[in-house]
Symmetry: C2
């Protein structure tokens, strides 16, 4: 068994440590020399690339186009929208100089004090400000609307406590920024993009999510409404996996972006923004993986099928090669990414453990006996079950199996979430359940004060007001004040 | 005629202004609020995305994998490699603080002096240092080599004089960083990637390039050898379009990256790096475009074919729609991106001028007469020639035409370069020819002193020592000292 795997902490022992170790051992990412910034390694990046490709296609299908805006934002731009600066000023990386020079006292390279910027520049924590400053020149009339633009880029927020993928100072993401002629259209767009995220999470990541609205307290800095998809991790904690914001006219007012409407009147433009980030990698890893390593959904696995030969000599290997090569071709023709690992410098047992650790969904093992029998041994990563299957039409069989695995890990995650979703009505039940973990559906009186008090007492936050929740009058679990419907409380990442 | 087009400066009047205007009018990019940083607009970004996709596939076909390294680099890393810091220190954006705060005197948001970093961070101008610092932990033995990694990212160099795409403070690029067990393998890899660039330039950009070696003076800061592809713009100036560096063991030594070789000895790793950037957009625009606007090579055009209907009433439009829709489907089936512009709020003449400005390679125009005759009017953007073609099998016809256009603009660019490439032997000829523009093949004595003197006197630099040049002893055009072969001199972007 590979050393890496043997050393992996068990989830039951320490879930948090299991995650941290798994990210590194499975070659997904590692800490860099710069505090809070990660290196995304090739295997991890290959998964992110697949996510990007799927999301990008889905965005484009809704009419969105990509563009690119500057990394640096003038400091004064942040201040234009009051809530926005409040939300981001405390975690900004600030560029103050544009040159280094050789120290006259021989201390190496130092910042050149003469190259100080007149106005400091901020590394974008998000790009609403620079983008809305640009939109001012792009939008004149209702005919220029809607404007549907997205960018894939890096952003920077100086987080004090960081964890690989889940919370890093620099992260990769996409941020969509749309401009509309009416409030209704903008609000619909924000919800449409939330639906795209939910659809992506469920179909590709095999990640069931709850769609909901954030409370005022948890809203994006500058938004009138923040929509969210919330997922549950195996330890019962929530992970916010994507957000879509209805920004009203806040940024249009801050950057003076007006348009002439159909009635020939000048009006401020309506806005949305929406984003998902490399944090999704954290959600993916934590939702499906097990004590043997990663479990990747087939739709996002960089290697979907690995084939390992078992042989004692080169003649046997040559026989196996002859059988495997057409299988590889047939699988590739179906668009399945397959690796035939006939490298002779590693033992099969090592390969098995390594591909398990890396979460490859399907493993085929072939030895001389299998060839005689016209069969192959198949292991599926999600259940770790092995069985034999005929070599004939193995490509169709494997294609079908990959879909079964995709469905199975989704079902499993959904069953887990449902088994850990509770409805409670008293404060005692509430505190006890929060302690045990999971989503807790409870009544809340709608005030920020109560929300913060509950957080202080239990470390639980309101993840969202579910969009498909039903009206159900009740009494706030803390104050007893009236509540129109239940909200989801949980501890969260 | 569209206003934008009417206003476009002619190349013959002012080539430089023609370029600047074209980039903006064709909706490719614009200046941002941050000095030297551009906004890449959706139409420009769509071309860049196509370039990325092609290059990425080509890199992957050579075994390269993508990864991601931090945006910020500790200042001290730059100093580790002496030439490297010399090359980049003077144009670094420096992050000194990690927080803003509200000014106590009510001046808005200011840098929080208490949030000063112990060590300043540099926004990457290129990533050799942070990547080789990372490779130290990835490489132990010859079995870990070669390591073939690329990243797509933004970089920042504080340029004083900037021009959209050609020279911007922030730009997008890819940077490949490979690690090898032997000098020979690294050197070969550097040349292999140069060949990939040349192949991409010629096949996709329709851009003929000269492959060559840079002089010591023009080498990348920290490289033992820099290979380059040099293209000629329509004004006869050179544009360096991609470089690939053999870095020797310089970065391995600076970051202490050793491996155990097959003979069980500890040795420093051999390195390459190679990159192309959004500068390629500048090369693309300047090589093919004309006084009517962009001319895009079909292989990179976001819209390859536009179809414009001519009609007087809705019945006529309905008839045209019925004919066009299956053509659109047939073209798409062939992987051709086509836009049917039947919007009724713009006149055909406006559409024609607009798609010409945007460089759409093929335009089909259909009116009631054409439908009667079973023909369509075709305009090819490269020659602006119009002709009629039968509607039957029009998709095959257009597919073929796109390839002809691709070939034609390549041939045209090559003929232009050849017509402006001169061999000269005397200083008088040399200065006169440099003044008239073009590539000047001349002898040079091999010294940096002479190279700099020539630059001072004529503003011409040595673009490269051509790789396919032949040995041909001669005398330096300036000093008369012996020279083993000719090099290419030119003024450049």
């Amino acid at each position: 068994m590979a050393k890496e795997l043997k050393d992996l902490t068990k989830r039951a022992e320490n879930y948090s440590q299991w995650y941290n170790e798994l990210v590194v051992k499975a070659d997904l990412a590692e800490q860099s020399a710069v505090r809070g910034c990660m290196v995304i390694k090739p295997y991890g990046y290959a998964i992110w690339e697949k996510m990007q490709r799927c999301l990008d296609d889905m965005f484009k299908a809704t009419g969105v186009q990509n563009a690119y805006f500057p990394l640096l934002i003038p400091k004064s731009f942040l201040s234009r929208e009051a809530d926005h600066v409040e939300g981001f000023a405390k975690e900004c990386a600030v560029v103050t100089h544009y040159r280094l020079k050789n120290d006259s006292e021989g201390k190496g390279v130092v910042v050149d004090p003469e190259a100080r910027l007149e106005e400091e520049l901020i590394i974008r924590p998000t790009s609403e400000t620079i983008i809305w400053n640009t939109y001012r020149n792009w939008i004149n009339s209702y005919r220029d609307l809607p404007l549907l633009v997205n960018q894939w880029c890096n952003v920077f927020r100086w987080e004090m406590r960081t964890r690989l993928f889940l919370r890093t100072a620099e992260f990769l993401w996409q941020e969509g920024h749309t401009a509309h002629a009416t409030r209704e259209e903008a609000q619909q767009k924000a919800i449409e993009m939330l639906n795209v995220y939910a659809d992506f999470a469920e179909r590709y990541m095999a990640l069931p999510v709850v769609k909901g609205v954030k409370t005022a307290n948890e809203r994006f800095a500058g938004a009138l409404e923040t929509y969210t998809i919330e997922a549950m991790m195996q330890d019962g904690k929530a992970l916010q996996s994507g957000t879509s914001h209805f920004l009203g006219q806040n940024f249009a007012k801050a950057f003076d972006v007006k348009f002439i409407n159909r009635e020939n009147q000048l009006e401020y433009v309506w806005a949305t923004s929406w984003g998902v980030s490399t944090r999704l990698m954290g959600a993916l890893i934590m939702t499906h993986s097990d004590d043997n390593g990663l479990v990747l959904p087939p739709h996002l696995a960089p290697i979907q099928v690995v084939i390992v030969p078992i042989y004692k000599n080169n003649d046997q290997l040559a026989d196996i090669d002859r059988v495997v090569n057409p299988i590889v071709d047939a699988l590739r023709k179906r668009g399945i990414s397959v690796k035939y690992d006939n490298a002779d410098n590693k033992r099969p047992g090592f390969k098995f453990a390594d591909y398990e650790l890396k979460g490859v969904p399907v493993r085929l093992v072939l030895g001389p006996k299998d060839i005689e029998n016209g069969t192959v041994e198949i292991m599926r990563r999600d259940t770790l079950e092995k069985h034999a299957a005929p070599l004939e039409n193995i490509d169709a069989y494997v294609a079908d199996l990959l879909e079964q695995i995709q469905q199975n890990i989704y079902d499993k995650a959904l069953a887990h979430r449902e088994s850990m979703t509770y409805t409670v009505d008293t404060w005692d039940e509430f505190t006890a359940q929060i302690e045990r973990g999971g989503f807790v559906l409870a009544h809340w009186d709608g005030t920020t004060e109560t929300e913060e008090k509950i957080k202080e007492l239990t470390k639980a936050t309101i993840r969202c007001i579910p969009m498909d929740g039903k009206d159900e009058p009740g009494k706030c679990v803390l104050t007893g004040n009236p509540s129109p419907r239940r909200v989801i409380f949980a501890r969260n990442y």
